[in-house]
């Protein structure tokens, strides 16, 4: 299989995630865009891990193990992130991230 296909797919997902993070208003939708970017990073880890296992003789599957860690950290991140969004909604009655400017200089 061509190596560039999954890599370009991951680049597309990452760019789309960047667009979502920069332009979405709703904090939950921003979290979803962050999840898309994490998925793109995971694809890169898996693909280069397979390449290293085939070409460099990486016998401990570093890429897949790191991808597994990224999946777990992403699950933890979305849990804490949604808790923060709920707290913001409870205190300010809004999930618009433009309203969260208390620490803005």
């Amino acid at each position: 299989m061509m190596l560039s296909y999954p890599l370009v797919f991951a680049a597309l997902l990452f760019s789309v995630g960047v667009y979502g993070v920069l332009t979405r208003r709703n904090a939950v939708l921003v979290l979803m865009s962050v999840e898309i970017m994490l998925a793109a990073a995971t694809i890169n880890l898996v693909v280069f891990g397979q390449l290293a296992a085939a070409n460099l003789g990486d016998s401990v599957l570093s890429g897949q193990v790191f991808a597994l860690f990224v999946i777990a950290v992403g699950a933890a991140e979305v849990g804490v992130g949604l808790a923060i969004v709920l707290l913001m909604y409870r205190n300010r009655a809004s999930v618009n991230i433009d309203d969260a400017d208390l620490m803005k200089f």
């Binding site: 061509m2 760019s15 789309v16 939950v28 979290l31 949604l82 969004v85």
Partner: protein, 202 residues
């Protein structure tokens, strides 16, 4: 062009289109459902490159848990479900940044790996478990600790503390939702003795 190439291209097209719909959908619930398609495409990519355990982990964790969590987040924050403008004023700038980022990344990838082939090999769950519980045992335990801490942190953050947040709207005359703790309540609770009710020391 092998069958893997065709499957990978189809997955990339479907996943990319769904990701574009996630960030452009005007209905937030539709965006969450398009996210399911995107994450399934990512799982399909894992299957094509031979990481089968990761593919099913992706399906279980992301499609099964994270999307449900996000849907609950949309529900609990009473997000405007109907179609409405969801983008802020930076849409044009964000489009410029992301398109130029994609152009840069795609150019670099195609110039570096344009004709390289990925040798495919299947990694079974047993292979991954062999290295995960032996070679990666300590990072794996650290990951479990991280998950525990984040679970506790999420509970502490999302818990409604006494007297915090807006009062619930109530008609006058309705019973208050937060009754003052009466003495009879505390004394009638099994297993709880108040200091004044302790037996006098003989």
């Amino acid at each position: 062009m092998t069958v893997y190439d065709v499957v990978m291209l189809a997955i990339a097209v479907i996943g990319g289109a769904a990701a574009l719909l996630v960030v452009t959908a005007r209905n937030v619930v539709h965006a969450a459902l398009y996210l399911v398609v995107t994450l399934l495409a990512v799982a399909g990519t894992f299957l094509v490159v031979g990481a089968e355990f990761l593919a099913w982990t992706q399906v279980l964790v992301y499609v099964g848990a994270v999307v449900v969590l996000i849907l609950f987040g949309l529900m609990l924050t009473r997000a405007p479900i109907g179609p409405m403008a969801q983008h802020n004023d930076n849409a044009r700038l964000g489009l410029l940044v992301s398109v130029s980022l994609f152009g840069f990344l795609a150019t670099m990838i195609l110039s570096a790996f344009g004709d390289a082939a990925l040798p495919l090999s299947v990694t079974t769950a047993g292979d991954l478990g062999d290295v995960l519980y032996v070679h990666w045992a300590f990072p794996f335990m650290a990951l479990g600790f991280l998950l525990t801490v984040s679970l506790i942190g999420a509970i502490i953050l999302a818990r409604r503390e006494e007297g915090e947040g807006p009062e619930p709207l109530m008609e006058p005359g309705m019973p208050t939702s937060r009754p003052e703790p009466a003495a009879s309540d505390a004394s009638s609770t099994p297993g709880v003795t108040r200091p004044s009710e302790e037996l006098p020391r003989a």
